[in-house]
Symmetry: C2
Subunit: 257 residues, 2 copies
């Protein structure tokens, strides 16, 4: 490393050790649907700054331990939800959201926070046992936020994550990650409606899901109740996560305004 620095003359930007480094964090907005409500997992901070405030799960990147940012995010997700990416095909979904970096977002100095958002099915989750220092809890989302104030700029991050989630529902199939392995089309539609916060047309929705080819009926499996039984479906794994929506769901809504 020393000789690299020596090689560097006027092109000082090209060495890795000549500038002071910011701290790099990885934060994850973990969403689920429970009791017909969209929820996000928050952790109560045990120490300053923002002691006792709620924050997105996350922490400093561990350079010695993690191979990549994605692995760090998966570790964070696994720690908080008990979801283990190693054991079989979990239907959890993880996607990088945005990177937030600046001098004033943390009172301790310049930080960079690589934010991810994740979708998990509520019945797959076992929340980490809450100690006094760090309680993990699902919080209801209202509009683009939760009711309480969040630590750092996490309210902004959450806002962006919710915006991205809503807009991706418009043209992808990611909502299936919020449902159990078997579900009815009505249940799938309900999840879309909960997140989009608007009622959808039944026949259009079914036609689109059908054309997108993202689910298939499970032969012989029906959900029964005091009504006509409903066909159970399962998710078909795709190469891409795109559900092909020529006209997006928001199309007509957008037009009305």
């Amino acid at each position: 490393m020393q000789n690299l620095i020596n090689e560097c003359t006027d092109e000082s930007y090209d060495t890795l050790e000549s500038y002071k480094k910011p701290t790099v964090m990885v934060d994850v907005a973990i969403f689920t649907v429970q009791d017909n409500t969209l929820k996000v997992l928050l952790i109560k901070r045990g120490i300053a700054p923002y002691k006792d405030a709620w924050a997105l799960p996350g922490g400093a990147l561990r350079v010695e331990q993690d191979e990549s940012l994605e692995i760090a995010a998966l570790r964070e997700l696994a720690e908080e939800t008990g979801l283990n990416p190693q054991t079989g095909a979990q239907r959890q979904y993880l996607e990088q959201l945005h990177t937030y970096g600046g001098r004033n977002r943390d009172p301790r100095g310049w930080t960079v926070s690589v934010a991810y958002f994740a979708l998990v099915a509520i019945d797959d989750v076992t929340l980490r046992a809450g100690t006094d220092a760090s309680a993990a809890q699902w919080h209801t989302i209202n509009g683009h936020q939760v009711e309480l104030p969040l630590a750092f700029d996490h309210a902004d991050i959450l806002h962006d994550a919710i915006t991205r989630l809503r807009s991706k529902l418009d043209y992808t199939d990611i909502a299936v990650h919020l449902l159990p392995k078997e579900f009815t089309l009505t249940e799938l539609q309900r999840v879309y409606e909960i997140i989009m916060q608007e009622k959808l047309n039944k026949s259009s929705f079914r036609q689109r899901v059908d054309r997108a080819g993202i689910v298939k009926p499970i032969k012989g499996r029906m959900r029964t109740g005091s009504n006509r039984p409903a066909q159970l479906y399962q998710f078909i794994q795709q190469k891409h996560d795109r559900m092909f929506f020529p006209r997006s769901i928001a199309w007509a809504q957008e037009r009305k305004r």
Copy 2:
């Protein structure tokens, strides 16, 4: 800072100084259209590693100097193209792409690279005077890459940037940032066709641009030649960068496959 570290007991992930930090870089894929071709700006590296290889413009984040990641990216863009964000309403476009981080992407150790992509109009650009150590040059894009091998994982970053650019053209107006202040609809369509790499229907295109309301005719200004003169248009600044495309341009192409 010392007392923060002392406060930290078993919750060691919550201090900023207890872990080794990765280096943070900011890299920018700067695109333009020149001679009916999509091009990206590359810099020839003057020092090891990857000495003499081409790379995206970028460098280590300067914590003392830059307020935020976005400002660092703007600085990088200004340095390479002479575009000054301070002087008036430049029509340049800058958007965060993705953050790449891992142990092996740079031989010097764990790095995090926050990548941006930018669109500039070719006549606004004055390339930095090329010294021996760092020549800046436009390179033609072919498919999802340039002809030559790039340093680090910059070929991957460029691939992602091109993919994002193409997909955003489908539903946003960002292509106007590649054109001079005054342009004809045919010129705008040509830019779309160059980037999307497919011919578009003329009347559909005009209808969509018209409905999206992103351009307006400049009264009395026409482009003349040995044919019917064409109306000159200018870009209307929007709150959002969304051009509303109910059915995306790729719609029919997608359907054929």
